[in-house]
């Protein structure tokens, strides 16, 4: 994989990871261009496109676009699953993740990504072990920093979101929906909604 981008429907970059040395200027140009291309695509269109010499695989979850650029022989479908797995990981870590989680804790999102992908290739496909590694790092840190504080486990009662209330309303305000909630519920995506209902029961 060449790079991964997360950006909002409004065209705001939320996360970027480059796996091939690219100059700053070139990065900005590519980000801008690709955002334009992807945001212009309609929901019924396919998730793959050929862009420059790359293949771009993207998927929209709620208000967030996950966008990966892969090379010639790479498998598009598995890249789509890779995005999905990353969302699963985020979801599991944050507990019903939404765009706000990623905005306010983007460094955490980076840590998870680094644990999942290394140098652009899948490092650990096991959800459990990725989260274990992250948790381990979190735990060690927090032991040093002070008493173990439980990671925020958000329940379905999301009205208590601290960031939500303080955010001004407006068109530019990212709508804090769970990524799952608006994720396209194609028949091929069993885990997402299931996970949601499981959490809901908690």
């Amino acid at each position: 994989m060449r790079f991964m981008l997360l950006f909002s429907r409004q065209g705001k970059l939320r996360l970027q990871k480059w796996y091939l040395a690219t100059s700053d200027k070139e990065r900005k140009k590519m980000v801008r261009e690709l955002m334009q291309v992807v945001l212009a695509r309609k929901p019924k269109m396919c998730s793959f496109l050929e862009w420059r010499d790359l293949k771009v695989v993207y998927k929209r979850y709620a208000s967030l676009y996950f966008c990966c650029a892969i090379e010639g022989q790479d498998n598009e479908l598995i890249t789509l699953e890779l995005i999905h797995r990353y969302v699963e990981l985020l979801d599991k870590y944050f507990g019903s993740v939404c765009e706000l989680d990623i905005i306010f804790n983007f460094e955490k999102a980076y840590f998870i990504l680094d644990e999942f992908l290394m140098g652009g290739d899948v490092q650990d496909t096991s959800k459990k072990s990725v989260l274990k590694a992250i948790e381990q790092a979190d735990l060690l840190q927090e032991v040093r920093a002070g008493p173990v504080r439980k990671r925020r486990k958000r329940t379905k009662a999301k009205g208590a979101l601290p960031t939500l209330d303080t955010l001004p309303a407006g068109p530019s305000c990212p709508f804090p929906t769970s990524l799952w909630r608006l994720a396209p519920k194609a028949p091929g995506w069993p885990a997402g909604p299931q996970a949601l209902t499981a959490r809901g029961g908690r």
Partner: protein, 1039 residues
């Protein structure tokens, strides 16, 4: 009890300390993390980019002060880093923090170190010099006993590490391959993989260790090692054939579900691993029957197992099919794989369909019958809303070629075209496909039939495609160059600008084809070929009687009316002109024509129907136009016009011919042109109105001589340019001095005005013609008033034989088009009863100017025949044909036929109106066309863009207000068209209005063409594409 007390007491300090440590940093942390939150919220609340810039700049200044302050703790530094990352992500420069990120990674505790490493990995790139400072930290962390620290070090190494420092950490990482924890081993393997990618030589000695990793008891480590193997096998598959068995075994185990459940993804066992293995097997088994045989079983198993209807199984299936088709073929497997492809193609999911179509391309190479099975699906896909799918399908048919002849395929497509069930857009795609196939076909009966049938199609888009095909078909060599066989599977041309077409559009034009007009909906498709002509007839034009009416009192009174308005206009100019605003304003005051009718009442004392008034209005404006022209026509004005005319020539068909390398008889032309000037002296036109004739006064003589010299330069230029073009392009200094417009012409290599404007050396004509030149210069003052006063085209030969040569040029007079045919007698004897006749054409009214029938043409002299051409019916492209006959030495009569192309552009004239009138007229027109065009430069480019348009299309720039520009022109005799340009960002919004429905379309097409060339030049300037361009021969310049 005491025990308890004691315990409590002993615990107290700890608790106390703990509390302190919690409250202190935790409070700080809270305040800092809320600072990030505050920043994010602050940005979200802002409405403009400018405000955001201000806020971020302020934030960055704060951060700069904080990170460099000695009192800043590492904890605070961590928070600062997070905010810096955020600012960088928004696109702002936070380079002052890079060094602090490294420091944080070096000095911080785990919590801070992790952020420090993250910041480093996000801020720096592989060759950044600061990265060297990180090496020591990495080495230290790799030696740490803390697992998390080692993990972090390995992660950063695999992301970003200076190549030259690899030896410093390599032994440490090698050691980690034996680490007891699998997570460390796995990361170590991936770090080595990264090293292998950036410096393969450095890790050569540890290949044996990779094998160990492949056999690791942990699946994760094994999977990680596959990355290295995939890469190594890709480079040299023969060296790893011995591993085939191992890979097959691993895959069997995976497929058989022998892995821990942890590795399942949605109940599919380790899909990433499977795909990796399949790719490796595909590489190993390529062209190797023995190796391939080892894997047939497992491939079969993979195909069978993937029955679950889930995306991930399709991913595996897709890879599996790919592998089956890359290894040594086994018919049974191929058949199964083909069936799987069918599942993809037939899937309602667009992603799968897309991949299925892609897979078909390589399936067809093996077995075209399969594609025939899916033919209907493919055709259905043509109707799919996603253009990507269509592009894929287009490629499909060229693959059928492997087994079928192109003729058969074309026949099939032709049948499809004739069926009524498919949409016209699809048909257009099919024609495009046929176009691609045509160069490979040997016989072209069907193509010809298709062309015949669809050039008369009612659908403009189809017709356009058919015309394209037709003209390409006429020039097979060009076509083959354009659509090379090996590239036939790539999509044709996805170029929103018309550049691709420029070459052969010009060719078409020169061959008498009708020019195309844009079809707006096609723009979205980004089909450069989607620019289609509308062949609808124009609305009824105003008869030329409108011109006779301009001497009427109405015209005069309006003229004064307008002059009165000019103050008002001046006022208006201070405000930014918003057309919407005007609309409202006039809406309140009453509809514009009503106001107009007041003027009408004054003069004609009769209420006139609205349309008439508008016409009247237009006529009046034209009158005013004439008047003002007459008044302001100074030397400068003429210079401008001349410049424009010569520039316009660059756009004309002749220039493109030379672009295609046909202008090789230049010296010949040169002489003829000289003659033309000479002979013209005898013929004065009477069509000029009185005001104009006063301008051929002696004051102009010097100027005209200048011009004449320029003209010679021009003629000579073409020759010179042929040879000196390269050096010319190299001369960047002279280039930058040139106005942009000249650069356009320069770029197109055909506009003669380059040297003249650039004040370069005067070209000296060859000796042989020097005498006549001198002669002509002396005559010039009286001769050239016609030509100097009006813009005119280059001389172009229309026909010739051994005795005579007929050339023609156009003079774009204000009220009509004046065609001049000059007949040059090459022979040594005189020609008798020479007669030139122009066949009546349905769209034109042709008026013979005096002196058209000449009894005698002397030896080696030139005679001119002039015709004024009026447009009677709007058209886009017309043809004037005629013949000349003469007698040589009283013996036999010879007849020569010729024809000349006329385009609508020949009848476009500037419409000089005020901003005020523009506003009025704007509201009165019903037909409008809007289009957005991308520009490279915003704002600043508007005036120059407009200038380019003004000069090339003969438009009148009414006004430029802020980021808006107003232009006006008229189609002779009197159809006005108003153009509105607005720049926003890098988009130029074009908005055209006219009383004629087709004129805006046509102008839009022309404008886009010019804007595109203009943009291209800017790109050239800024991206120094010059160098590339220089290397290309003119006709190869495809943008």
């Amino acid at each position: 009890m005491s025990d308890i007390v004691e315990k409590t007491l002993t615990a107290l300090p700890g608790l106390f300390l703990q509390n302190q440590s919690v409250s202190g940093p935790a409070a700080a942390k809270a305040s800092f993390s809320s600072r990030l939150g505050g920043l994010v919220r602050g940005i979200t609340a802002l409405t403009s980019k400018h405000e955001e810039e201000k806020l971020i700049q302020q934030e960055l200044n704060n951060l700069k002060a904080t990170v460099s302050a000695p009192t800043t703790t590492l904890k605070m530094m961590k928070e600062c880093m997070v905010r810096l990352i955020y600012c960088e992500m928004l696109g702002y420069d936070a380079s002052f923090g890079y060094i602090h990120a490294i420091k944080l990674a070096q000095q911080g505790n785990l919590l801070e170190k992790r952020v420090g490493y993250l910041a480093v990995s996000l801020f720096l790139h592989e060759s950044h010099e600061l990265l060297l400072l990180l090496v020591n930290t990495v080495v230290k962390d790799l030696q740490s006993t803390n697992l998390v620290e080692v993990c972090m070090a390995l992660t950063i190494v695999s992301q970003i590490f200076p190549r030259e420092m690899i030896p410093a950490v390599l032994p440490l990482i090698e050691d980690k391959l034996q680490h007891s924890k699998e997570i460390i081993r796995r990361k170590a393997v991936l770090a080595l993989y990264k090293f292998y990618l950036i410096a393969p030589n450095q890790v050569q000695h540890i290949h044996i260790k990779f094998r160990k990793a492949l056999c690791d008891r942990d699946v994760g480590v094994m999977a990680a090692s596959l990355h290295i193997y995939l890469r190594m096998i890709k480079e040299n598959s023969s060296a790893y054939k011995d591993l085939t068995g191992s890979f097959v075994t691993i895959l069997k185990q995976v497929v058989g579900g022998k892995l821990p459940v942890d590795f399942n993804y949605h109940s599919v066992p380790a899909p990433w691993l499977q795909i990796q293995l399949l790719r490796i097997l595909g590489l190993l088994g390529k062209d190797d029957q023995r190796t391939s045989e080892l894997m047939y079983d497992v491939l079969d198993e993979s195909l069978r197992r993937a029955e679950l209807n889930h995306n991930v199984t399709y991913a595996i299936l897709f890879e599996c099919v790919h592998t089956v088709y890359s290894v040594y073929p086994k018919s049974e497997l191929l058949e199964k794989a083909a069936k799987c492809i069918g599942r993809f193609v037939l899937s309602p999911k667009i992603n799968l369909k897309y991949l299925g179509l892609k897979a078909l391309t390589y399936v067809i190479q093996q077995d075209p019958t399969l594609a025939l099975q899916h033919q209907m699906t493919i055709i259905e896909c043509l109707d799919h809303p996603d253009p990507i799918i269509k592009r894929e399908v287009l490629g499909e048919y060229s693959y059928l070629l492997d087994k079928e002849t192109p003729e058969e395929v074309i026949t099939k497509l032709y049948k499809l075209l004739r069926s009524d069930s498919i949409s016209s857009e699809t048909k257009a795609w099919i024609i495009a496909a046929v176009t691609k196939l045509t160069p490979q076909a040997h016989s072209s009966n069907i193509v010809e039939r298709l062309i015949q049938e669809f050039t008369t199609s009612l659908d403009t888009c189809l017709r356009q495609h058919a015309f394209e095909l037709k003209h390409l078909h006429e020039n097979v060599k060009f076509m083959k160059g354009l659509l090379p066989v090996d590239k036939s599977c790539e999509d044709m041309v996805v170029d929103a600008s018309l550049s691709f077409l420029d070459g052969f559009v010009a060719e078409e034009l020169s061959q008498g084809a009708a020019p195309y007009k844009p079809h707006h909906q096609r723009q979205e498709e980004k089909l450069s070929q989607g620019k289609v002509l509308s062949f609808e007839p124009y609305g009824l034009s105003f008869s030329s009687s409108g011109f006779s009416g301009r001497q009427s009192p109405a015209g005069i009174s309006l003229g004064s009316d307008i002059s009165g308005n000019s103050t008002e206009t001046g006022l208006k100019e201070t405000n930014s002109l918003k057309l919407e605003g005007i609309k409202k304003l006039w809406g309140k005051e009453g509809y514009l024509p009503k106001k107009e009718s007041k003027t009408g009442d004054e003069t004609e004392a009769l209420p006139v129907p609205q349309e008439n008034i508008i016409m009247e209005n237009v006529d009046q404006i034209i009158t005013k136009n004439d008047q003002s022209q007459a008044l302001t026509q100074s030397k400068e004005e003429k210079e401008k016009q001349l410049l424009a005319s010569s520039l316009f020539v660059g756009l004309g068909s002749e220039s493109t011919i030379s672009l295609l390398g046909k202008a090789d008889t230049l010296s010949h032309k040169f002489r003829r042109k000289s003659k033309v000037k000479e002979t013209k002296s005898g013929q004065t036109t009477t069509a000029e109105n009185v005001t104009r004739s006063s301008f051929s006064s002696s004051s102009n003589v010097t100027y005209e001589e200048d011009y004449y010299l320029d003209n010679f330069q021009d003629r000579g230029d073409k020759e010179i340019k042929k040879f000196s073009l390269n050096s010319e392009l190299l001369d960047s200094e002279s280039l930058t001095e040139l106005p942009l417009i000249e650069k356009i012409s320069n770029c197109r290599l055909s506009t003669p005005s380059l040297f003249a404007v650039n004040n370069m050396e005067v070209f000296h004509p060859p000796q042989s013609t020097a005498a006549s030149v001198a002669n002509e210069i002396s005559l010039a003052s009286s001769l050239l008033e016609e030509t100097t006063e009006h813009m005119h085209s280059d001389l172009m030969e229309v026909c010739h034989n051994e005795t005579i040569s007929v050339s023609s040029y156009k003079i774009w007079k204000d009220e009509c088009l004046l065609m001049v045919w000059s007949v040059f007698n090459k022979s040594a004897s005189e020609l008798k009863s020479a007669n030139l006749e122009i066949a009546p054409a349905e769209n034109f009214k042709i008026t013979e100017q005096p002196g058209c029938c000449l009894p005698v043409i002397e030896a080696e002299s030139t005679r001119n025949f002039q015709y004024s051409v009026q447009m009677e019916k709007p058209f886009t492209e017309g043809n004037l044909s005629g013949f000349i006959n003469y007698q040589v030495m009283d013996t036999h009569s010879v007849q020569l036929e010729f024809s000349v192309n006329l385009s609508l552009l020949d009848f476009i004239r500037p419409l000089k109106i005020s901003t005020e009138d523009f506003g009025k007229l704007w509201l009165s027109f019903a037909n409008d066309v809007k289009q957005n065009v991308k520009m490279s430069e915003s704002q600043a480019a508007l005036p120059s863009t407009l200038k380019a348009l003004q000069q090339e299309l003969r438009l009148h720039v009414v006004d430029i207000i802020g980021n808006e520009g107003l232009l006006a022109c008229q189609l002779l005799p009197s159809i006005p068209c108003l153009l509105h340009f607005r720049v926003h960002g890098d988009m130029l919004a074009l908005w055209f209005r006219s009383s004629c429905s087709t004129l805006p379309d046509y102008l839009l097409y022309q404008c886009q063409k010019i804007i595109f060339h203009y943009r291209l030049l800017q790109d050239i300037e800024y991206n120094s594409l010059w160098y590339t361009l220089r290397k290309l021969r003119p006709r190869e310049v495809k943008y």
